[in-house]
Amino acid sequence: MNELQFLTWVRGPGLDIAVGIFVLGVLWRLFEIYSLGRKKDLAAPRHAAGASGLHTVFRRSIPPPGGVKRSPVSYIGGYIFHIGLAIVVFGFAPHILLIKNLTGLSWPGLPSQFIDLAAVVTMAAMVVVLVDRINKPVKRFLSTFGDWFTWTVTFLPVLTGWLAVQHLLLPYTTMLALHILSVEILLIVLPFTKLFHAFTLFGSRWYNGKVNGQRGVPV
Protein backbone atom coordinates (compact mmCIF):
# COMPACT_ATOMS: atom_id res chain seq x y z
CA MET A 1 0.00 0.00 0.00
CA ASN A 2 1.52 3.33 -0.99
CA GLU A 3 0.88 6.53 0.91
CA LEU A 4 -1.90 7.78 -1.35
CA GLN A 5 -3.67 4.44 -1.04
CA PHE A 6 -3.15 4.66 2.70
CA LEU A 7 -4.61 8.17 2.71
CA THR A 8 -7.50 7.06 0.54
CA TRP A 9 -8.17 4.18 2.90
CA VAL A 10 -8.18 6.32 6.02
CA ARG A 11 -10.39 8.89 4.31
CA GLY A 12 -12.68 6.19 3.02
CA PRO A 13 -13.31 2.88 4.77
CA GLY A 14 -11.23 3.89 7.78
CA LEU A 15 -13.26 6.98 8.49
CA ASP A 16 -16.45 5.11 7.82
CA ILE A 17 -15.55 2.45 10.38
CA ALA A 18 -14.33 4.99 12.94
CA VAL A 19 -17.37 7.26 12.70
CA GLY A 20 -19.58 4.16 12.75
CA ILE A 21 -18.01 2.85 15.94
CA PHE A 22 -18.06 6.32 17.46
CA VAL A 23 -21.75 6.87 16.81
CA LEU A 24 -22.58 3.34 17.90
CA GLY A 25 -20.45 3.64 21.02
CA VAL A 26 -21.78 7.02 22.06
CA LEU A 27 -25.42 5.98 21.78
CA TRP A 28 -24.84 2.64 23.43
CA ARG A 29 -22.93 4.19 26.33
CA LEU A 30 -25.42 7.03 26.81
CA PHE A 31 -28.28 4.56 27.04
CA GLU A 32 -26.25 2.28 29.28
CA ILE A 33 -25.50 5.13 31.68
CA TYR A 34 -28.65 7.19 31.78
CA SER A 35 -31.19 4.37 31.59
CA LEU A 36 -30.19 3.34 35.12
CA GLY A 37 -32.54 6.08 36.26
CA ARG A 38 -32.79 7.48 39.75
CA LYS A 39 -35.34 7.73 42.49
CA LYS A 40 -37.50 10.78 42.76
CA ASP A 41 -36.45 12.99 45.66
CA LEU A 42 -39.44 13.00 48.02
CA ALA A 43 -38.10 15.69 50.33
CA ALA A 44 -39.88 19.03 49.93
CA PRO A 45 -37.47 21.27 48.00
CA ARG A 46 -36.27 24.42 49.76
CA HIS A 47 -37.20 26.24 46.62
CA ALA A 48 -38.07 24.87 43.23
CA ALA A 49 -34.84 23.51 41.78
CA GLY A 50 -35.61 25.31 38.52
CA ALA A 51 -32.57 25.66 36.31
CA SER A 52 -30.07 24.78 39.03
CA GLY A 53 -28.83 21.82 36.99
CA LEU A 54 -28.23 24.02 34.00
CA HIS A 55 -26.53 26.64 36.16
CA THR A 56 -24.08 24.08 37.43
CA VAL A 57 -23.33 22.91 33.90
CA PHE A 58 -21.98 26.40 33.27
CA ARG A 59 -20.72 27.25 36.75
CA ARG A 60 -18.40 24.26 36.88
CA SER A 61 -16.42 25.63 33.96
CA ILE A 62 -15.06 28.23 36.35
CA PRO A 63 -12.57 27.17 39.01
CA PRO A 64 -13.66 27.27 42.68
CA PRO A 65 -12.30 30.12 44.83
CA GLY A 66 -8.60 29.56 45.47
CA GLY A 67 -8.54 26.57 43.13
CA VAL A 68 -6.18 28.08 40.59
CA LYS A 69 -3.74 29.01 43.33
CA ARG A 70 -3.73 25.50 44.79
CA SER A 71 -3.46 23.59 41.49
CA PRO A 72 -2.30 26.07 38.86
CA VAL A 73 -1.10 23.44 36.42
CA SER A 74 -4.34 21.50 36.48
CA TYR A 75 -6.49 24.55 35.92
CA ILE A 76 -4.38 26.72 33.63
CA GLY A 77 -2.91 23.78 31.74
CA GLY A 78 -6.34 22.21 31.52
CA TYR A 79 -7.94 25.39 30.22
CA ILE A 80 -5.23 26.00 27.65
CA PHE A 81 -5.29 22.52 26.26
CA HIS A 82 -9.07 22.25 26.13
CA ILE A 83 -9.49 25.67 24.53
CA GLY A 84 -6.51 25.03 22.24
CA LEU A 85 -8.02 21.75 21.13
CA ALA A 86 -11.32 23.47 20.45
CA ILE A 87 -9.60 26.17 18.38
CA VAL A 88 -7.65 23.65 16.36
CA VAL A 89 -10.51 21.23 15.90
CA PHE A 90 -13.20 23.77 15.12
CA GLY A 91 -11.20 26.65 13.66
CA PHE A 92 -9.05 25.00 11.02
CA ALA A 93 -10.66 25.29 7.59
CA PRO A 94 -10.15 21.66 6.48
CA HIS A 95 -11.71 20.48 9.76
CA ILE A 96 -14.70 22.73 9.25
CA LEU A 97 -15.09 21.25 5.82
CA LEU A 98 -15.14 17.76 7.29
CA ILE A 99 -17.73 18.80 9.85
CA LYS A 100 -19.77 20.41 7.12
CA ASN A 101 -19.56 17.24 5.12
CA LEU A 102 -20.69 15.12 8.05
CA THR A 103 -23.30 17.41 9.57
CA GLY A 104 -24.03 20.21 7.14
CA LEU A 105 -22.94 22.85 9.66
CA SER A 106 -20.31 25.36 8.65
CA TRP A 107 -18.63 28.54 9.85
CA PRO A 108 -15.64 30.64 8.77
CA GLY A 109 -12.20 29.27 9.51
CA LEU A 110 -9.31 30.94 11.31
CA PRO A 111 -5.99 31.90 9.65
CA SER A 112 -3.67 28.92 9.53
CA GLN A 113 -0.85 30.77 11.28
CA PHE A 114 -3.14 31.22 14.26
CA ILE A 115 -4.16 27.56 14.17
CA ASP A 116 -0.49 26.67 14.00
CA LEU A 117 0.22 28.70 17.12
CA ALA A 118 -2.77 27.21 18.89
CA ALA A 119 -1.57 23.70 18.04
CA VAL A 120 1.90 24.35 19.44
CA VAL A 121 0.49 25.92 22.59
CA THR A 122 -1.95 23.04 22.98
CA MET A 123 0.82 20.47 22.69
CA ALA A 124 2.99 22.37 25.14
CA ALA A 125 0.10 22.52 27.62
CA MET A 126 -0.58 18.82 27.17
CA VAL A 127 3.05 17.99 27.87
CA VAL A 128 3.00 20.16 30.98
CA VAL A 129 -0.19 18.48 32.13
CA LEU A 130 1.43 15.09 31.54
CA VAL A 131 4.51 16.05 33.52
CA ASP A 132 2.19 17.23 36.27
CA ARG A 133 0.47 13.86 36.24
CA ILE A 134 3.84 12.19 36.67
CA ASN A 135 5.09 14.59 39.33
CA LYS A 136 2.06 15.25 41.46
CA PRO A 137 1.54 12.46 44.03
CA VAL A 138 -2.25 12.52 43.85
CA LYS A 139 -2.38 12.35 40.09
CA ARG A 140 0.29 9.68 39.87
CA PHE A 141 -1.57 7.70 42.52
CA LEU A 142 -4.87 7.91 40.63
CA SER A 143 -3.36 7.22 37.22
CA THR A 144 -4.07 3.96 35.49
CA PHE A 145 -3.11 2.64 32.09
CA GLY A 146 -6.20 4.39 30.75
CA ASP A 147 -4.85 7.80 31.71
CA TRP A 148 -1.59 7.39 29.83
CA PHE A 149 -3.42 5.80 26.93
CA THR A 150 -6.01 8.53 26.57
CA TRP A 151 -3.36 11.22 26.85
CA THR A 152 -1.52 9.58 23.98
CA VAL A 153 -4.53 9.19 21.72
CA THR A 154 -5.46 12.82 22.35
CA PHE A 155 -1.95 14.10 21.78
CA LEU A 156 -1.24 12.17 18.59
CA PRO A 157 -3.85 13.85 16.38
CA VAL A 158 -2.52 17.28 17.35
CA LEU A 159 1.07 16.23 16.84
CA THR A 160 0.53 14.49 13.51
CA GLY A 161 -1.71 17.29 12.27
CA TRP A 162 0.91 19.85 13.13
CA LEU A 163 3.74 17.79 11.63
CA ALA A 164 1.72 17.33 8.47
CA VAL A 165 1.05 21.03 8.06
CA GLN A 166 4.67 21.87 8.85
CA HIS A 167 5.99 19.16 6.48
CA LEU A 168 8.10 17.61 9.17
CA LEU A 169 9.38 14.07 9.68
CA LEU A 170 7.39 12.34 6.93
CA PRO A 171 6.02 13.34 3.53
CA TYR A 172 2.80 15.32 3.83
CA THR A 173 0.65 12.59 2.33
CA THR A 174 1.84 9.99 4.83
CA MET A 175 1.58 12.40 7.73
CA LEU A 176 -1.91 13.47 6.71
CA ALA A 177 -2.94 9.84 6.52
CA LEU A 178 -1.42 9.20 9.96
CA HIS A 179 -3.20 12.27 11.27
CA ILE A 180 -6.57 11.07 10.05
CA LEU A 181 -5.79 7.59 11.36
CA SER A 182 -4.93 8.97 14.78
CA VAL A 183 -8.22 10.88 14.84
CA GLU A 184 -10.00 7.68 13.92
CA ILE A 185 -8.35 5.89 16.83
CA LEU A 186 -9.45 8.75 19.06
CA LEU A 187 -13.03 8.48 17.79
CA ILE A 188 -13.07 4.74 18.32
CA VAL A 189 -11.77 4.79 21.88
CA LEU A 190 -13.65 7.89 23.01
CA PRO A 191 -16.92 6.23 24.04
CA PHE A 192 -15.11 3.50 25.96
CA THR A 193 -12.56 5.47 27.97
CA LYS A 194 -12.51 8.42 30.31
CA LEU A 195 -12.62 10.58 27.20
CA PHE A 196 -16.35 9.94 27.34
CA HIS A 197 -16.43 12.69 29.94
CA ALA A 198 -16.86 14.96 26.93
CA PHE A 199 -20.45 13.68 26.89
CA THR A 200 -21.20 12.72 30.48
CA LEU A 201 -19.84 15.80 32.20
CA PHE A 202 -23.00 17.66 31.22
CA GLY A 203 -25.14 14.99 32.85
CA SER A 204 -22.90 14.86 35.90
CA ARG A 205 -22.95 18.60 36.45
CA TRP A 206 -26.67 18.67 35.87
CA TYR A 207 -27.39 15.94 38.45
CA ASN A 208 -25.12 17.58 41.00
CA GLY A 209 -26.67 20.98 40.41
CA LYS A 210 -30.19 19.58 40.57
CA VAL A 211 -29.75 17.59 43.78
CA ASN A 212 -28.09 20.46 45.60
CA GLY A 213 -30.27 23.12 44.02
CA GLN A 214 -33.24 21.29 45.52
CA ARG A 215 -31.66 21.92 48.93
CA GLY A 216 -30.96 25.52 48.11
CA VAL A 217 -27.23 25.23 47.57
CA PRO A 218 -25.84 26.55 44.30
CA VAL A 219 -22.91 24.22 43.58
Partner: protein
Protein backbone atom coordinates in the same frame (compact mmCIF):
# COMPACT_ATOMS: atom_id res chain seq x y z
CA UNK B 1 -18.33 -15.12 48.14
CA UNK B 2 -19.46 -14.88 51.71
CA UNK B 3 -23.14 -14.29 52.38
CA UNK B 4 -22.41 -10.90 53.91
CA UNK B 5 -20.32 -9.82 50.94
CA UNK B 6 -23.07 -10.96 48.61
CA UNK B 7 -25.50 -8.88 50.60
CA UNK B 8 -23.21 -5.90 50.37
CA UNK B 9 -22.75 -6.23 46.63
CA UNK B 10 -26.49 -6.63 46.26
CA UNK B 11 -27.01 -3.44 48.21
CA UNK B 12 -24.59 -1.64 45.90
CA UNK B 13 -26.40 -3.02 42.87
CA UNK B 14 -29.57 -1.52 44.31
CA UNK B 15 -28.21 1.94 44.93
CA UNK B 16 -26.17 2.40 41.76
CA UNK B 17 -28.18 4.78 39.60
CA UNK B 18 -27.77 7.06 36.60
CA UNK B 19 -26.00 9.85 38.52
CA UNK B 20 -23.39 7.41 39.84
CA UNK B 21 -22.91 5.93 36.38
CA UNK B 22 -22.56 9.42 34.94
CA UNK B 23 -20.10 10.44 37.66
CA UNK B 24 -17.80 7.46 37.22
CA UNK B 25 -17.79 7.91 33.48
CA UNK B 26 -16.95 11.57 33.84
CA UNK B 27 -13.99 11.21 36.19
CA UNK B 28 -10.74 12.09 34.44
CA UNK B 29 -8.47 11.36 37.43
CA UNK B 30 -7.50 15.01 37.69
CA UNK B 31 -7.18 14.71 41.46
CA UNK B 32 -8.63 18.16 42.12
CA UNK B 33 -11.07 16.69 44.65
CA UNK B 34 -8.04 15.98 46.85
CA UNK B 35 -7.50 19.72 47.23
CA UNK B 36 -10.99 20.03 48.67
CA UNK B 37 -10.60 17.22 51.22
CA UNK B 38 -9.11 18.08 54.59
CA UNK B 39 -7.88 14.52 55.02
CA UNK B 40 -5.65 15.04 52.00
CA UNK B 41 -4.67 18.66 52.56
CA UNK B 42 -3.64 18.02 56.16
CA UNK B 43 -1.85 14.71 55.61
CA UNK B 44 -0.62 14.96 52.00
CA UNK B 45 -1.38 11.27 51.58
CA UNK B 46 -2.87 10.62 48.12
CA UNK B 47 -4.92 7.67 49.36
CA UNK B 48 -7.29 10.23 50.87
CA UNK B 49 -8.24 11.55 47.44
CA UNK B 50 -12.06 11.49 47.61
CA UNK B 51 -12.69 9.66 44.36
CA UNK B 52 -10.24 6.94 45.36
CA UNK B 53 -12.38 6.19 48.40
CA UNK B 54 -15.03 4.91 45.95
CA UNK B 55 -12.90 2.49 43.97
CA UNK B 56 -14.79 -0.68 45.02
CA UNK B 57 -18.10 0.99 44.16
CA UNK B 58 -16.70 1.96 40.77
CA UNK B 59 -15.71 -1.60 40.07
CA UNK B 60 -19.08 -2.98 41.08
CA UNK B 61 -20.71 -0.42 38.79
CA UNK B 62 -18.42 -1.30 35.92
CA UNK B 63 -18.75 -5.04 36.38
CA UNK B 64 -22.49 -5.08 36.89
CA UNK B 65 -23.87 -2.31 34.73
CA UNK B 66 -21.56 -1.89 31.75
CA UNK B 67 -21.12 -4.31 28.91
CA UNK B 68 -17.38 -3.76 28.70
CA UNK B 69 -17.03 -4.17 32.45
CA UNK B 70 -18.82 -7.48 32.37
CA UNK B 71 -16.52 -8.55 29.58
CA UNK B 72 -13.48 -7.41 31.53
CA UNK B 73 -14.69 -9.38 34.53
CA UNK B 74 -15.19 -12.51 32.44
CA UNK B 75 -11.68 -12.37 30.97
CA UNK B 76 -10.19 -11.47 34.32
CA UNK B 77 -9.13 -7.90 33.55
CA UNK B 78 -11.36 -6.54 36.30
CA UNK B 79 -11.06 -8.31 39.64
CA UNK B 80 -14.20 -8.86 41.70
CA UNK B 81 -14.56 -6.92 44.93
CA UNK B 82 -13.54 -8.99 47.95
CA UNK B 83 -14.14 -8.86 51.69
CA UNK B 84 -10.45 -8.09 52.23
CA UNK B 85 -10.70 -5.14 49.95
CA UNK B 86 -13.79 -3.73 51.64
CA UNK B 87 -12.03 -4.22 54.94
CA UNK B 88 -9.18 -2.14 53.64
CA UNK B 89 -11.58 0.51 52.39
CA UNK B 90 -13.48 0.73 55.66
CA UNK B 91 -11.08 3.26 57.14
CA UNK B 92 -11.13 5.30 53.92
CA UNK B 93 -14.92 5.43 53.79
CA UNK B 94 -15.59 6.01 57.50
CA UNK B 95 -12.48 7.19 59.37
CA UNK B 96 -11.29 9.56 56.67
CA UNK B 97 -14.55 10.75 55.17
CA UNK B 98 -16.88 13.00 57.11
CA UNK B 99 -19.31 13.31 54.21
CA UNK B 100 -18.67 17.03 54.34
CA UNK B 101 -19.33 17.27 50.59
CA UNK B 102 -16.59 19.79 49.87
CA UNK B 103 -15.25 17.56 47.08
CA UNK B 104 -18.64 17.69 45.36
CA UNK B 105 -18.21 21.45 45.12
CA UNK B 106 -14.94 21.46 43.21
CA UNK B 107 -15.05 18.52 40.83
CA UNK B 108 -14.58 20.11 37.39
CA UNK B 109 -16.73 17.52 35.65
CA UNK B 110 -19.41 18.02 38.29
CA UNK B 111 -19.27 14.74 40.17
CA UNK B 112 -21.25 14.71 43.39
CA UNK B 113 -18.71 12.57 45.22
CA UNK B 114 -20.34 12.70 48.63
CA UNK B 115 -23.56 11.41 47.05
CA UNK B 116 -21.60 8.35 46.02
CA UNK B 117 -19.96 7.94 49.43
CA UNK B 118 -23.39 7.89 51.02
CA UNK B 119 -24.47 5.16 48.58
CA UNK B 120 -21.26 3.22 48.99
CA UNK B 121 -21.81 3.09 52.73
CA UNK B 122 -25.03 1.15 52.07
CA UNK B 123 -22.92 -1.67 50.72
CA UNK B 124 -20.29 -1.36 53.41
CA UNK B 125 -22.96 -1.55 56.10
CA UNK B 126 -24.84 -4.43 54.48
CA UNK B 127 -21.63 -6.43 54.25
CA UNK B 128 -20.67 -5.60 57.83
CA UNK B 129 -17.65 -3.46 57.10
CA UNK B 130 -18.32 -0.69 59.57
CA UNK B 131 -16.21 0.66 62.42
CA UNK B 132 -17.14 -0.57 65.88
CA UNK B 133 -17.72 2.94 67.17
CA UNK B 134 -20.50 3.78 64.74
CA UNK B 135 -21.84 0.28 65.09
CA UNK B 136 -22.18 0.84 68.84
CA UNK B 137 -23.87 4.19 68.38
CA UNK B 138 -26.31 2.65 65.93
CA UNK B 139 -27.04 -0.21 68.27
CA UNK B 140 -27.76 2.17 71.14
CA UNK B 141 -29.98 4.36 69.00
CA UNK B 142 -32.08 1.42 67.82
CA UNK B 143 -32.23 -0.47 71.09
CA UNK B 144 -32.23 2.31 73.68
CA UNK B 145 -33.30 5.42 71.80
CA UNK B 146 -30.17 7.52 71.33
CA UNK B 147 -26.57 7.09 70.30
CA UNK B 148 -25.35 7.81 73.78
CA UNK B 149 -27.74 5.37 75.37
CA UNK B 150 -29.87 8.11 76.86
CA UNK B 151 -33.42 7.27 78.00
CA UNK B 152 -36.48 9.41 78.52
CA UNK B 153 -36.05 9.87 82.26
CA UNK B 154 -32.80 11.71 81.60
CA UNK B 155 -34.59 13.99 79.18
CA UNK B 156 -37.44 14.49 81.59
CA UNK B 157 -34.85 15.50 84.13
CA UNK B 158 -33.42 18.12 81.77
CA UNK B 159 -36.94 19.38 81.05
CA UNK B 160 -37.69 19.75 84.73
CA UNK B 161 -34.46 21.68 85.28
CA UNK B 162 -35.21 23.94 82.36
CA UNK B 163 -38.68 24.62 83.68
CA UNK B 164 -37.20 25.53 87.01
CA UNK B 165 -34.56 27.77 85.48
CA UNK B 166 -36.92 29.65 83.21
CA UNK B 167 -40.15 29.43 85.08
CA UNK B 168 -41.84 28.42 81.85
CA UNK B 169 -43.81 25.28 81.19
CA UNK B 170 -42.30 22.88 78.72
CA UNK B 171 -45.12 20.77 77.25
CA UNK B 172 -44.64 17.09 76.50
CA UNK B 173 -46.79 15.07 74.06
CA UNK B 174 -49.12 18.02 73.51
CA UNK B 175 -51.26 17.59 70.39
CA UNK B 176 -51.58 20.31 67.74
CA UNK B 177 -48.48 22.29 68.74
CA UNK B 178 -46.74 24.49 66.18
CA UNK B 179 -43.43 22.81 66.73
CA UNK B 180 -42.27 19.38 67.81
CA UNK B 181 -38.89 20.04 69.34
CA UNK B 182 -36.21 17.43 68.81
CA UNK B 183 -32.98 17.21 70.74
CA UNK B 184 -29.72 15.49 70.21
CA UNK B 185 -28.19 13.37 72.92
CA UNK B 186 -25.17 15.57 73.00
CA UNK B 187 -27.26 18.61 73.76
CA UNK B 188 -29.16 16.82 76.45
CA UNK B 189 -25.94 15.77 78.14
CA UNK B 190 -23.54 18.61 77.39
CA UNK B 191 -25.63 21.67 76.62
CA UNK B 192 -28.92 21.48 78.51
CA UNK B 193 -29.11 25.29 78.21
CA UNK B 194 -30.33 24.75 74.66
CA UNK B 195 -33.77 23.73 75.87
CA UNK B 196 -33.96 26.69 78.22
CA UNK B 197 -33.09 29.05 75.42
CA UNK B 198 -35.76 27.59 73.18
CA UNK B 199 -38.40 27.77 75.89
CA UNK B 200 -37.65 31.48 76.36
CA UNK B 201 -37.71 32.26 72.67
CA UNK B 202 -40.93 30.33 72.00
CA UNK B 203 -42.62 32.01 74.90
CA UNK B 204 -41.58 35.44 73.68
CA UNK B 205 -42.70 34.72 70.16
CA UNK B 206 -45.94 33.17 71.28
CA UNK B 207 -45.33 29.95 69.48
CA UNK B 208 -46.65 26.68 70.86
CA UNK B 209 -44.34 23.70 71.03
CA UNK B 210 -44.02 20.28 72.51
CA UNK B 211 -41.58 17.47 73.07
CA UNK B 212 -42.48 13.87 72.37
CA UNK B 213 -41.66 11.27 74.96
CA UNK B 214 -41.28 8.57 72.33
CA UNK B 215 -39.30 10.70 69.85
CA UNK B 216 -36.91 13.11 71.48
CA UNK B 217 -33.75 12.01 69.72
CA UNK B 218 -33.01 13.80 66.45
CA UNK B 219 -29.78 12.10 65.52
CA UNK B 220 -29.79 9.14 63.22
CA UNK B 221 -26.84 6.80 63.38
CA UNK B 222 -28.38 4.79 60.56
CA UNK B 223 -27.55 7.64 58.21
CA UNK B 224 -23.99 7.77 59.41
CA UNK B 225 -23.42 4.09 59.14
CA UNK B 226 -25.11 4.33 55.78
CA UNK B 227 -27.92 1.86 56.12
CA UNK B 228 -31.34 2.95 54.95
CA UNK B 229 -33.18 0.12 56.67
CA UNK B 230 -31.89 1.11 60.07
CA UNK B 231 -32.14 4.81 59.31
CA UNK B 232 -35.76 4.27 58.35
CA UNK B 233 -36.52 2.60 61.68
CA UNK B 234 -35.02 5.56 63.52
CA UNK B 235 -36.61 8.31 61.45
CA UNK B 236 -40.00 6.62 61.58
CA UNK B 237 -40.17 7.26 65.33
CA UNK B 238 -40.11 11.00 64.66
CA UNK B 239 -42.55 10.79 61.77
CA UNK B 240 -44.97 8.67 63.80
CA UNK B 241 -44.77 11.01 66.79
CA UNK B 242 -45.19 14.14 64.66
CA UNK B 243 -48.21 12.68 62.91
CA UNK B 244 -49.71 11.36 66.12
CA UNK B 245 -49.34 14.78 67.78
CA UNK B 246 -50.48 16.50 64.58
CA UNK B 247 -47.76 19.15 64.77
CA UNK B 248 -47.24 21.61 61.93
CA UNK B 249 -43.47 21.66 62.11
CA UNK B 250 -40.66 19.52 63.41
CA UNK B 251 -37.76 21.53 64.77
CA UNK B 252 -34.39 20.01 64.11
CA UNK B 253 -31.78 20.89 66.71
CA UNK B 254 -28.40 22.37 65.94
CA UNK B 255 -26.92 18.93 65.26
CA UNK B 256 -25.83 18.70 61.61
CA UNK B 257 -26.51 15.21 60.44
CA UNK B 258 -29.78 15.10 62.35
CA UNK B 259 -31.03 17.84 60.07
CA UNK B 260 -29.77 15.92 57.02
CA UNK B 261 -31.50 12.77 58.28
CA UNK B 262 -34.89 14.32 58.91
CA UNK B 263 -35.04 17.12 56.40
CA UNK B 264 -33.53 15.55 53.30
CA UNK B 265 -33.28 11.81 53.79
CA UNK B 266 -36.39 11.27 55.92
CA UNK B 267 -39.10 11.35 53.24
CA UNK B 268 -36.95 9.20 50.96
CA UNK B 269 -36.39 6.68 53.74
CA UNK B 270 -40.08 6.25 54.54
CA UNK B 271 -40.97 6.47 50.89
CA UNK B 272 -43.46 9.35 50.98
CA UNK B 273 -43.44 13.12 51.51
CA UNK B 274 -43.95 14.37 55.06
CA UNK B 275 -47.24 15.86 56.21
CA UNK B 276 -45.28 18.44 58.26
CA UNK B 277 -42.39 20.78 57.66
CA UNK B 278 -38.92 20.18 58.96
CA UNK B 279 -37.26 23.36 60.16
CA UNK B 280 -33.77 23.86 61.43
CA UNK B 281 -33.61 25.87 64.64
CA UNK B 282 -31.52 28.55 62.90
CA UNK B 283 -34.10 28.95 60.18
CA UNK B 284 -36.72 29.56 62.87
CA UNK B 285 -34.47 31.96 64.77
CA UNK B 286 -33.69 33.91 61.64
CA UNK B 287 -37.36 34.18 60.86
CA UNK B 288 -38.04 35.47 64.36
CA UNK B 289 -35.16 37.92 64.02
CA UNK B 290 -36.75 39.32 60.86
CA UNK B 291 -40.06 39.64 62.73
CA UNK B 292 -38.22 41.58 65.41
CA UNK B 293 -39.00 39.08 68.14
CA UNK B 294 -35.37 38.30 68.76
CA UNK B 295 -34.17 41.25 70.81
CA UNK B 296 -30.81 41.28 72.57
CA UNK B 297 -30.23 42.76 75.98
CA UNK B 298 -26.49 42.74 75.55
CA UNK B 299 -23.88 41.71 73.03
CA UNK B 300 -20.81 39.54 72.95
CA UNK B 301 -17.73 41.78 72.83
CA UNK B 302 -14.85 39.46 72.06
CA UNK B 303 -13.91 38.92 68.42
CA UNK B 304 -15.18 35.62 67.12
CA UNK B 305 -15.44 33.53 63.99
CA UNK B 306 -18.12 31.17 62.78
CA UNK B 307 -17.79 27.52 61.85
CA UNK B 308 -20.51 26.50 59.41
CA UNK B 309 -21.48 22.85 59.98
CA UNK B 310 -21.32 20.99 56.66
CA UNK B 311 -24.58 19.07 56.97
CA UNK B 312 -26.60 22.15 57.80
CA UNK B 313 -25.01 24.65 55.48
CA UNK B 314 -23.27 23.17 52.46
CA UNK B 315 -25.33 20.00 52.37
CA UNK B 316 -28.46 21.20 54.11
CA UNK B 317 -28.95 24.53 52.40
CA UNK B 318 -29.26 26.72 55.52
CA UNK B 319 -26.79 29.10 53.93
CA UNK B 320 -27.70 32.58 55.07
CA UNK B 321 -29.36 32.26 58.50
CA UNK B 322 -26.29 32.09 60.73
CA UNK B 323 -24.48 35.29 59.74
CA UNK B 324 -27.21 37.85 60.50
CA UNK B 325 -27.98 36.05 63.74
CA UNK B 326 -24.39 36.16 64.88
CA UNK B 327 -24.09 39.79 63.83
CA UNK B 328 -27.08 40.49 65.99
CA UNK B 329 -25.42 39.13 69.09
CA UNK B 330 -21.72 39.72 68.46
CA UNK B 331 -19.98 43.07 68.06
CA UNK B 332 -16.87 41.63 66.60
CA UNK B 333 -17.85 38.97 64.14
CA UNK B 334 -14.98 38.29 61.71
CA UNK B 335 -16.07 36.53 58.51
CA UNK B 336 -13.48 33.96 57.43
CA UNK B 337 -12.46 33.28 53.85
CA UNK B 338 -13.81 29.75 53.48
CA UNK B 339 -17.27 30.21 54.92
CA UNK B 340 -20.76 28.96 54.28
CA UNK B 341 -20.75 26.50 51.39
CA UNK B 342 -16.94 26.63 51.25
CA UNK B 343 -16.36 25.92 54.92
CA UNK B 344 -13.89 23.31 56.12
CA UNK B 345 -15.25 20.39 58.12
CA UNK B 346 -14.50 19.97 61.82
CA UNK B 347 -13.10 16.54 60.95
CA UNK B 348 -15.65 14.48 62.86
CA UNK B 349 -18.81 14.48 60.79
CA UNK B 350 -20.49 11.56 59.07
CA UNK B 351 -20.02 9.35 62.10
CA UNK B 352 -16.27 9.77 62.20
CA UNK B 353 -16.43 11.26 65.69
CA UNK B 354 -17.89 8.00 66.96
CA UNK B 355 -14.83 6.02 65.88
CA UNK B 356 -12.46 5.76 68.78
CA UNK B 357 -9.57 3.74 67.42
CA UNK B 358 -6.13 5.25 67.99
CA UNK B 359 -5.57 5.75 64.28
CA UNK B 360 -8.92 7.47 63.77
CA UNK B 361 -8.36 9.80 66.73
CA UNK B 362 -4.83 10.64 65.62
CA UNK B 363 -6.12 11.37 62.15
CA UNK B 364 -8.90 13.58 63.51
CA UNK B 365 -6.38 15.51 65.54
CA UNK B 366 -4.19 15.92 62.49
CA UNK B 367 -6.94 17.21 60.21
CA UNK B 368 -8.12 19.61 62.91
CA UNK B 369 -5.13 21.69 61.84
CA UNK B 370 -7.28 23.19 59.12
CA UNK B 371 -9.59 24.66 61.77
CA UNK B 372 -6.61 25.59 63.92
CA UNK B 373 -5.20 27.60 61.05
CA UNK B 374 -8.50 29.39 60.52
CA UNK B 375 -8.70 30.31 64.19
CA UNK B 376 -5.09 31.48 64.26
CA UNK B 377 -5.36 33.45 61.05
CA UNK B 378 -8.40 35.28 62.38
CA UNK B 379 -6.56 35.81 65.67
CA UNK B 380 -9.63 35.09 67.79
CA UNK B 381 -10.17 32.98 70.87
CA UNK B 382 -13.84 32.28 70.28
CA UNK B 383 -15.44 30.17 67.61
CA UNK B 384 -19.19 29.81 67.28
CA UNK B 385 -20.90 26.93 65.60
CA UNK B 386 -24.36 25.43 65.42
CA UNK B 387 -23.81 21.70 65.53
CA UNK B 388 -23.23 19.86 68.78
CA UNK B 389 -21.06 17.29 67.08
CA UNK B 390 -18.82 19.89 65.43
CA UNK B 391 -18.50 21.59 68.75
CA UNK B 392 -17.41 18.46 70.63
CA UNK B 393 -14.98 17.43 67.90
CA UNK B 394 -13.45 20.87 67.83
CA UNK B 395 -13.22 21.04 71.57
CA UNK B 396 -11.21 17.84 71.43
CA UNK B 397 -8.99 19.43 68.79
CA UNK B 398 -8.53 22.57 70.85
CA UNK B 399 -7.55 20.42 73.81
CA UNK B 400 -5.19 18.37 71.73
CA UNK B 401 -3.30 21.42 70.52
CA UNK B 402 -3.63 23.10 73.91
CA UNK B 403 -5.21 26.15 72.40
CA UNK B 404 -7.14 28.66 74.48
CA UNK B 405 -10.06 28.75 72.06
CA UNK B 406 -13.58 28.77 73.44
CA UNK B 407 -16.32 26.96 71.48
CA UNK B 408 -19.86 28.29 71.66
CA UNK B 409 -23.19 27.14 70.31
CA UNK B 410 -25.00 29.82 68.36
CA UNK B 411 -28.45 29.21 69.89
CA UNK B 412 -26.90 29.13 73.32
CA UNK B 413 -25.04 32.38 72.66
CA UNK B 414 -28.23 34.01 71.48
CA UNK B 415 -30.14 32.74 74.51
CA UNK B 416 -27.54 34.14 76.85
CA UNK B 417 -27.97 37.62 75.47
CA UNK B 418 -31.67 37.45 74.85
CA UNK B 419 -33.87 40.19 76.28
CA UNK B 420 -35.75 38.82 79.27
Amino acid sequence: MSASLEKGINALKQVIDAPIASYFNSCVHCGLCADACLFYTETGDPKYTPIHKLEPLRRVYEQEYTLLGRLKKVVGLSKPVTDDELDQWQSLVYDSCTMCGRCSMVCPVGNDIVYMVRKFREGMAASGHVPDGIKGATQRTVEIGGPMGLKWPAVANVIRKAEEATGLAIPVDKEGADYLVLLSSMEIVNFPEYLEALAKIFSKAGISFTLASDAFEATNAGIQIGNSDIAKVIVSRIVDAAEKLKVKNVLSPECGHAYMAIRWEGPNLIGRPFTFNVVHVLELLDELRLKGVLKMKSTFKEPLILHDPCQIVRRGGVLQAAEPLIQQVADNYIPIVDKQKWNWCCGGGGGASAIHTDEAEALRAKVFQVKKRQIEEAGVSTMVTFCANCRIVMEEGVDHYEMDTKLLGLTELLAEHLED
